[in-house]
Amino acid sequence: MREIHTDKIRDAVRQLYLDMLCTIGDDITLALRSGLEQEESPIGCMLLRQLLENNEIARNERVGICQDTGMAILFVELGQEIHLTGGSFEDAVNQGVREAYEEGYFRKSVVDDPLFDRINTKDNTPAVIHLRLLPGDKICITAMAKGFGSENMSAMRMLVPADGEEGVLKTILDTVRQAGPNPCPPIIVGVGIGGTMEVAAQLAKYATARPIGDRHADPRYADLEQKALSAINALGIGPGGLGGRVTALDVHIESCPTHIAGLPVAVNICCHASRHGKCEI
């Protein structure tokens, strides 16, 4: 049994958010640069250059890459041989988020009640926490900050088995086409296939945090990722939705077992400012 004080979790979460909200991943920078080479629209090229410059300013001046510093979402894998001391796990995570958003001058964008009151909680908590208990004595945290310009453009469909690969591809394309300029293209498309309704949505979210260029282990899904990416970039939406070749930087699919009667598909769209980080305790 390994003992871990929850202060360690709080500090790890705090550091993850302080870093990710000002510093874009190298994979995104490379993808934007390579997009600039492929883009044919002059306005599209101008926008991609602005994004590269924006990310430099954010990194150097420690200002948010985007003003929507998002809702905090954490996928936590907790080793079952760990004994947590020092108080509540969820409180520690929320305290880490609270401290990062205050210290980093990030926007607090969470409201307490979704429908009636909509009062800002003023510290960007509560975070969304997805917890899994796994063998071992480590804690693995994948943290994301998700803006709602792109979150609002996400969709899910309960397909049936007969819809097959074609149905999945159509769901992805319909979602991206309908989103148009709204989610700040170029986008990253996370797709969850299988499970139940909520599992597909969770897989889609997790998929958005995979590195650009990373492919599904099963070559058939990897092929579908490529096919979807090409089809999206043929739509012509382009950077900012003003027309162009570079609409998506990548498509990531996650799959899992499902029911004999079902084929749930969730499509979670993430903007080019895909802010996420990982750490292990």
Partner: protein, 186 residues
């Protein structure tokens, strides 16, 4: 690329001369407002009251910035998605609002109100909040301060780069642009 320079207030003649696809640099005073502030303005009009600020020939920027670090005029300040303001926008356009800066699609009702009044819709680059922040020289809350980031701010900008997406004739770059670059897939 060539930019047209605009200094608000923006009169109807200038607004009507802009065309979808024009690149524009805005310098001067603009006003911020997003979901919550729009809702309050709209509710006042519904009750038959006057607006608490004169929007005639002014430009509203749909933005909710991050807090400013000490020494900065404003935090990260890119555009938010405009369609959430669509329900409230025609009423403001009918009272003289001349321009809007945001990102993303607008409803037919908004576009009709733009044509009727001679207004223009600009897109700023979504996700370029840090870059746009460096064009902002001052941001002061002037109304609904209790809304925090959503309060209406008077914002001084210098060379704020935007693109005309929908003009007063209803030309829409969000439709024309993708048609130009669309490819048929097998």
């Amino acid at each position: 690329m060539d930019y047209k320079k605009i200094t608000p207030p923006l009169n109807e003649m200038t607004a009507r001369s802009l065309r979808a696809g024009d690149l524009v640099m805005i310098s001067g005073i603009i006003y911020t407002g997003r979901d919550a502030a729009h809702k309050r303005l709209f509710e006042l009009l519904e009750k038959g009251k006057e607006l608490p600020l004169d929007l005639r020939d002014q430009i509203i920027y749909y933005v909710g910035p991050t807090p400013a670090r000490p020494g900065r005029a404003c935090g990260s300040a890119g555009p938010t998605t405009s369609y959430r303001m669509d329900k409230y926008t025609p009423a403001l356009l009918d009272r003289g609002l001349r321009g809007m800066i945001g990102k993303g699609l607008r409803s037919n009702e908004v576009i009709e109100a733009m044509e009727r009044n001679g207004a223009v819709y600009f897109a700023a680059t979504g996700g370029a909040g840090a870059l746009i922040s460096s064009c902002i020289t001052e941001a002061v809350p002037i109304l609904y301060e209790d809304l925090g980031t959503e309060a209406i701010h008077q914002m001084h900008v210098r060379n704020f780069p935007v693109t005309v997406v929908i003009d007063s004739l209803g030309n829409n770059l969000y439709e024309q642009g993708p048609v130009r670059y669309r490819r048929d897939t097998p």
